[in-house]
Symmetry: C2
């Protein structure tokens, strides 16, 4: 009925326009987008360059020290060893914690395989630890709609895969009284949709293309989807947790995620002021490298690059022995003489992620570098740690039934007042 | 996590690509899009040309006769006088009626003003009559999300306006036991969203631009919205009416609407087979002309072109006397000598829409054409009919409260089995 008006949104900040994730930085060796992560370097992605390129901040010693002071907890392995290496406004969350003001955690997963692999676990292990330390609500989005849009997959298959993946995620050990897990196809509701539509209004087609690299050959859904991943940053998307009527978009959220998801939240941070909402804070992880080497991250679509949660101890041992790229030398004699290279050795990288004991890790590094520790020995040590992580997961996974999933996905209130 | 795949949808039918609603037919005098309806001709839009341009069918005598045979009802004024002038697959609905197979009606409104005007009433008056004749469920979509996206308006204002407009729509006399009215912001739910996402996957950016004329300066929401207007064509969007689990997308729908809404449903008809769903049928109305003449339709944004539902009898009389474009001559003498032109006379057009008595209408036409009836007399006769319509609406409107709206918007089942 109405005349078409020129209601194109104002331009977002120039920064957003500049931050292409596809395209112009092709001359760089590293490719990091929500859909692809590769590098030509054996030591993996250059994360310091990525910080500059993405315009986020390094998670430095000062912030980690402040985190420890504010929370009274020693930083966990992934924080103190730089697996979570960068952030946006993490200090704003520490301010909240210091002042006793509310905030919440948001992370998620796009289920694309029946079982999670070790790389998928990293943000969830960290998020679980963070939730315990902060004692705040956590929302976990399963983007089954995204998978349906991007893949040759039915809605039912995407929903089923999400539900299977939820069981793995729950097995990380989340507290059901404080954790809401939802898949978009089943949770979609008016408050969630309202935030999506508000985000849709604030970003135009040029900007979406610039941020995500979509083309006009892509289906409508790809262009519409980023708002669906962005909307849970706003507390009002969850009235059962943060209150029915308050529209409490001043409760900020912290998103622990792998850095490839940054484009969604960069967009979200830029539109937040237009929605009179707090900008989400982010804390970014590096990628767990593939067995074959740090040129790429683990990928379910290439099973031999991954340790899966349902791999047996024997399979884990065999995969590490057979595929884990070694920084050692060709012969024992040569290794004893020249020593190994921890920076490219995948077994050592696994120990960095999962071995709790700093002193032991440092001993291993020294001995391997000097050639005192052999590649086979290093692989055996890494195998033990990976087997331990997977066994602990499997132990908890035994108790996760469909009823457990129902418990986590149920619309319910949390033991917090807002 | 996944690599970006080239999952752009297959091309839709070539027909869809060809049917631009903006752009290439600019050399035509008539402009008919969801956002603009204008012509340079005093007699109004050339609807026969529109049928050719849009690729729909004329609603001819044969179909109207068949309708009367199948339903046992005489065609109403708007049908027998060609105000509903074109269709897509209306015969498929008549087939259903004949065989006793289920179908439903879907129409809607994008609320852009506090009160409806006479032009808005046309599809609703017709739809109400059609529902009585067919005895089937009716769903009415209020596109408050569209208005929020297109206009400088808050979500709350758009929702409030939708709710006010619902009261006017209800006053047309719909049966609450068979009519579900919903606004998108409040109804959005998983089954509705699932259909939206399926439509998103089936149409790409080029196609959206081609159909609707969006540019990359338009916000993301404009590109995403067409699927929201298309989704209610599929019965599975309403599990409370058509069954929780059946996904009964084989129940076809018939959409009575003004022809400017055709692009949404042309798109929907093209994607329906991909969703394994029935193609919606359509029956299209002409536009009630503006008081000033048939070059444009009534528009709330220009109050003097409209009769509003809340206009008083005196206001109606004054508006028709002052603004209703006359096909009569400059002086009484000249009029008596040359006669008037019914084709451009707005008072006569109003009588065509609203005067039940065919014989009287024909008499008026003859007398006016011969100059026996004067413009003032014709205006007076039209005023009486318009006052009658508005008074009947006002009488029903008195009984429409917030509770009545709740009754129509409530999620509930209907007295039909599927």
């Amino acid at each position: 009925d109405s005349k078409m008006t020129n209601s194109a949104p104002e331009n977002l900040t120039a920064k957003l326009e500049e931050l292409h994730v596809n395209g112009e930085e092709e001359d760089d060796d590293d490719k990091v987008t929500p859909w692809e992560v590769t590098t030509t370097k054996a030591s993996g992605i250059d994360y310091d360059k990525l910080i500059v390129r993405f315009g986020c901040r390094k998670l430095d010693e000062d912030i980690i020290s402040r985190f420890e002071r504010v929370t009274g907890h020693k930083a966990c392995v992934m924080l103190r060893r730089g697996m979570f290496f960068a952030h946006r406004d993490f200090t704003a969350i520490l301010d909240c914690k210091e002042k006793g003001e509310p905030f919440f955690l948001y992370t998620g997963r796009g289920a694309s395989s029946g079982s999670l692999h070790l790389g998928h676990l990293v943000p969830f292990i960290f998020t679980k630890w963070l939730q315990e330390v902060f004692d705040v609500p956590l929302v976990v989005q399963m983007t089954d709609d995204e998978k349906f849009l991007w893949k040759d997959m039915t809605v039912d298959a995407a929903k089923k895969m999400s539900r299977e993946n939820m069981k793995d995620i729950i097995s990380v050990g989340f507290d059901p009284t404080k954790t809401f897990i939802f898949n978009n196809f089943d949770y979609m509701c008016p408050p969630f949709y309202e935030n999506i539509v508000k985000i849709w209004k604030a970003v135009n087609g040029n900007q979406t293309r610039s941020i995500f690299g979509f083309t006009s050959e892509d289906c409508m859904g790809k262009a519409a989807f980023p708002a669906v991943e962005a909307a849970p940053c706003f507390a009002s998307s969850f009235p059962h947790i943060f209150g029915e009527k308050g529209r409490k978009n001043d409760i900020p959220c912290l998103i622990p995620c792998a850095i490839d998801q940054d484009p969604y939240f960069r967009m979200c941070r830029d539109v937040a002021p237009k929605l009179k909402a707090s900008k989400p804070s982010l804390i970014f992880s590096t990628f767990l490298p593939a067995l074959q080497g740090a040129q790429t991250k683990m990928s379910s679509s290439e099973p031999n690059t991954c340790i899966f949660l349902d791999d047996t101890p024997k399979q884990i041992k065999n995969k590490i022995n057979k595929y884990a790229f070694s920084g050692g030398q060709q012969t024992i004699e040569e290794h004893r003489a020249k020593g190994g290279n921890c920076d490219v050795d995948i077994s050592f990288q696994f120990l960095r992620f999962f071995l709790e004991d700093d002193v032991e890790l440092e001993n291993i590094r020294e001995q391997y570098t000097k050639g005192e520790l052999l590649s086979g020995e290093l692989k055996a040590r890494a195998t033990v740690e990976v087997q331990r992580i997977i066994a602990e997961m499997a132990e908890r996974r035994k108790n996760v039934t469909d009823e457990t999933v129902d418990e986590f996905t149920k619309i319910r209130s949390f033991p917090y007042q807002y």
